[in-house]
Amino acid sequence: MFELPSGAEIQGIIATLKASVGFFIPEIYLSVLFMLLIVIDLVAKGRKNNLLAITTLVGLAGSTLFIFQQHSLPPGELFFGMYVLDEFALFFKYFFVLSGIIAVIVTMVDEQFDREVKSMGEYYALIVAMVIGMIMMASSADLLMIFLSMELVSFTGYILAGYFKRNARSSEAALKYLVYGAVSSGLMVYGFSLIYGITAQTNLIKISHELAAHGSDSLVMIFASLLVLAGFGYKIGAVPFHFWSPDVYEGSPTPITAYLSVASKAAGFALLIRFFYIAIPHGGLAVENKLGLDWVTLLIILSVSSMIYGNVVALWQKNVKRLLAYSSIAHAGYLLLGIIVMNNQATLLYLLSYFLMNFGAFYVVILIANKTGSENLEDYRGLGIKMPLAGAALTVFLISLVGLPPTVGFIGKLYIFSALLSKGSLYIGIALVGIMTSVISLYYYMLIPLNMFLRESKRPDDKSMTLAVAPQIFMTALMILTLVFGIFFAPLSDFANYSSAMFGMTLPLH
């Protein structure tokens, strides 16, 4: 029933593939790096793991060159519309590579690995694989690609979450992540099938054309996109699709927690943005009706509930990692605000700030855990005196998470709320929720400095808490960046603005 393509067509196909490969270099490079790492692991068995780490660092750093070259390429789609290349995608490529690098650096300082696992062999390879997967998530323009890249990220995620095999919590995290992820991606793919059924298309742009042209049975459409959203929501960890995240974040190795909470969340957002903006864009009610889905309301509910839930429940946490997990739920809510008003710049800027401050916070948490061997709030008592620099840095990151000037977090919040208010009085209600919840967040964030500085240590042990030089330098660098970008945020803002362009947008971003 399917007639084979003629020779000419095959020639054409091959030509296209050849052409497309040129646009695909970073991904290829990273895949090579991935394999290289495995090989090195096999070769250098039993040697110091730093070799692998360094290789990964260098490799990832090198990939930025190839990504940088892509700026010269014209935005467009490749592999028959499976994949697109545009500023938006480029932004995330940088984002993920950088987060990969930082994840590696964080891993290198985390002493828990030395206790828990003997070989770091596939660990770094998996991180690279995850980077690839996320990059593809950010750039895929076809349901199939979306599904594949998401699964790639998820699988590597499952393994990394459970990387401490002998550690019960790590394994538990892996299991929960697995079950939840499997179910929600299953639902998502079921939703994909329905969309495919409605539009007979898997390419997002084509889908939106279909919908614009013929419209659709809105009920099925809603059902489908709800199922899809279940998949995305699970990736961005927004209420009510967040349930996995606190447990997984608490259980997994801290570097992975940081990595998941920043990178894979960002990937989810990239996907979310692309899917909704490209496939079922909205620019006012008319289109919504035509495309049969008012996903703005959907996301508003999502974001409001995330902001409230995340911040309110975080008040109760005793474990710093878990606390940060809940805060990351709340931040997903803030990010959604930017998406609601279709303001890519604000969203991307917020992502950047979130990248800085969250990684920073986790980094310090790891450094402290190395010394105290615990992540409980109680054990933070009096640390501020023992390790003032770490205390100061953590305080800065937390203040930035609250969104107070002069930190980059404030700039993020500023842009988000500006985006809301630039719509006039339409979204003031949501803006108020965001503001109020950020006041609440102040309390639990401040619990950490409160314990570190205001309270005396329960067991004043004289064992020195001085950190190694390198981590201190890195930490300070992050802190200074957080502050400097909080005052001179023009570069970030410009970059975000430049990156907000997406291929195949039928409606203007505003």
């Binding site: 303001n343 710049q345 107070l404 208010l421 503001i435 205001l454 023009a490 603005n497 971003l509």
Partner: protein, 544 residues
């Protein structure tokens, strides 16, 4: 000039960062030098200030020049945004009569604060770094003419304050610190929303872009008619005004948002109480004058009555609460609630007398209350208690201290010849002259009596009569046959020592001088205030 005065303390803080924390004396001296330099700059600014220029709104041609002075206007962030037009944030400093007085006050109080911080022994390094950060932020708030910049400084103040109370505070410090932080943040986050909304509603007449410049915002003709806070959008303008007002009222603090103040004061170490009462509270009212009222004149007009009533409540309520306090510091804290009520009352009058009075009251309250807290600190250092009933007859044993206290106390209850009187008098004159607030003023004068009551009563219980049975000190017959006072574990001089006098005497002299000849301060205020009153007058509104 202004940048220098703003950032000097931060520079000092950086220097201190380099100093090893064992070198306490060096650290202290560095920050003292910074504070003194700040003082010198303040004096220079005061000298160079031309009282003729009004300020408040833009000068000729919409530019701040010719209206504000010492203007420093540098484009800070200016970028085209995909989302919403172009973002223009300026590093925009400048002073007019209203701010220049506050600048001087801030310089003075923070210098005094450094002196009184000399006794801090715990983690001196961290303390002074935070202290200098705080000093910079306060100064910045008073000279910033760009709302964004103002907001940044405003928020930067919170964190150092939180730690200064939280780490160096009294037994219940955690509670006080977090309470302060949450209350103030609660106020300021709304300010953020209003700020953004204003940004989208105002066009800079010169550049034609949206702007954060307070100067441009103060001119009603710069508003986009149908913008969210444009003249047409009456409802939102009211909401914005109220939200902003609450934000500032929390800092003032205005009833019923005042409950953080007594706790904060009681727990805070003396120098921080001095800063808090001397400068931070002024920021609330300053914000109202600089931002709240000129930006929403018509709403201000509609709400004068309410503001006045709250002022009256502050005056009387604060005084009565002070009357019932057992803890001396708490009493002083409530007294400053009461005194800030005068400021609110004067502002609500909306006429020159009232507003000048309010501004002058801000200045005087700064100096006088600083004095009061220093004095409380003196006795607390010696006796380790502030319970009023634990003393008695001190006047016989600490004559100098008693004399200073008497002068300070009388200054606080508004005795003629001391600066507090003139400001309160002007406030009442203004409030009574405006028909809106006449009856409120008539009620508020009761505050004068209650004020006298609690101050004199505490004076009597602590200094007059003879030693109480359960007093916090012993009497022993000295070598010369006279009775001498003896505090448990207090080694230092019984009566005021040199450092304490060095802090108190300047304040005393200022209080006295300004009470006899107020023009040095008033002269700087009048033209600005008259301009402000003009801006606020309904006539102007109708022309907008």
């Amino acid at each position: 000039m202004l940048s220098l005065i703003v950032f000097l303390p931060i520079i000092a803080g950086l220097v201190i960062l380099a100093v090893p924390s064992s070198q306490k004396q060096i650290i202290r001296i560095v920050s003292l030098l910074a504070a003194l330099a700040q003082g010198v700059l303040a004096v220079l600014i005061w000298k160079g200030y031309n009282p003729a220029l009004p300020g408040i709104t833009a000068g000729p041609g919409g530019s701040p020049l010719g209206s504000f002075q010492f203007v420093e206007k540098v484009p800070w962030i200016s970028l085209h945004l995909g989302g919403f037009g172009s973002l223009n944030i300026e590093y925009f400093l400048g002073v007019d009569g209203i701010s220049v007085t506050m600048v001087i006050l801030t310089a003075l109080v923070s210098a005094i604060g450094v002196l009184s911080s000399w006794t801090i022994q715990k983690q001196v390094k961290g303390y002074f770094i935070l202290y200098n950060l705080l000093a910079s932020a306060m100064m910045g708030c008073f000279v910033a003419l760009d709302f964004f910049l103002f907001y940044v400084f405003w928020e930067i103040m919170l964190l150092p304050m939180y730690f200064l109370i939280g780490i160096w505070g009294g037994p219940n410090r955690e509670y006080a610190a977090i309470k302060f932080f949450l209350y103030t943040l609660f106020g300021s986050v709304f300010m953020l929303l209003v700020m953004i909304a204003l940004y989208f509603s105002v066009l800079d007449p010169v550049t034609g872009n949206h702007t954060f410049s307070l100067v441009a915002m103060a001119t009603q003709s710069n508003y986009i008619k149908d913008a969210i806070l444009g003249p047409d959008n009456v409802m939102w303008r009211y909401v914005a005004f109220i939200v902003l007002f609450i934000g500032f009222a929390i800092k003032v603090p205005m009833f019923p948002f005042h409950t953080w103040l007594p706790d904060a004061h009681v727990e805070a170490p003396t120098p921080i109480s001095v800063i808090l009462a001397g400068v931070l509270l002024k920021l609330g009212t300053y914000g109202m004058i600089r931002i709240n009222f000129p930006l929403f004149p018509e709403v201000f007009h509609a709400s004068m009555y309410v503001i006045g009533i709250f002022g009256a409540i502050n005056i009387i309520y604060g005084a009565l609460c002070a009357l019932a306090q057992q803890d001396l510091k708490k009493m002083v804290a409530y007294s400053s609630i009461s005194h800030m009520g005068y400021v609110l009352l004067g502002l609500s009058a909306g006429n020159s007398e009232g507003m000048v009075g309010a501004l002058y009251q801000m200045f005087n309250h700064g100096t006088i209350t600083a004095m009061l807290f220093l004095l409380v600190g003196v006795i607390y250092d010696r006796a380790h208690t502030r319970q009023i009933d634990k003393f008695g007859g001190l006047a016989s044993y600490m004559p100098v201290y008693a004399a200073v206290v008497t002068v300070a106390w009388f200054a606080s209850l508004g005795l003629p010849g001391l600066s507090g009187f003139i400001s309160e008098a002007l406030v009442f004159v203004g409030a009574f002259s405006s028909p809106t607030t006449r009856y409120i003023a008539m009620v508020s004068v009761l505050g004068i009596v209650f004020g006298a009551a609690y101050l004199l009563w505490s004076l009597q219980r602590m200094f007059l009569g003879t030693r109480k049975a359960d007093a916090a000190y012993d009497l022993q017959i000295g070598t010369d046959g006279h009775e001498h006072i003896h505090f448990h574990d207090w080694k230092g001089k019984i009566d005021l020592d040199g450092r304490e006098l060095a802090m108190l005497v300047p304040l005393l002299l200022i209080t006295l001088f300004l009470g006899i000849y107020p023009m040095p301060v008033l002269g700087m205020l009048t033209s600005s205030i008259n301009k402000l009153v003009q801006v606020l007058s309904p006539v102007v509104m109708s022309q907008m």
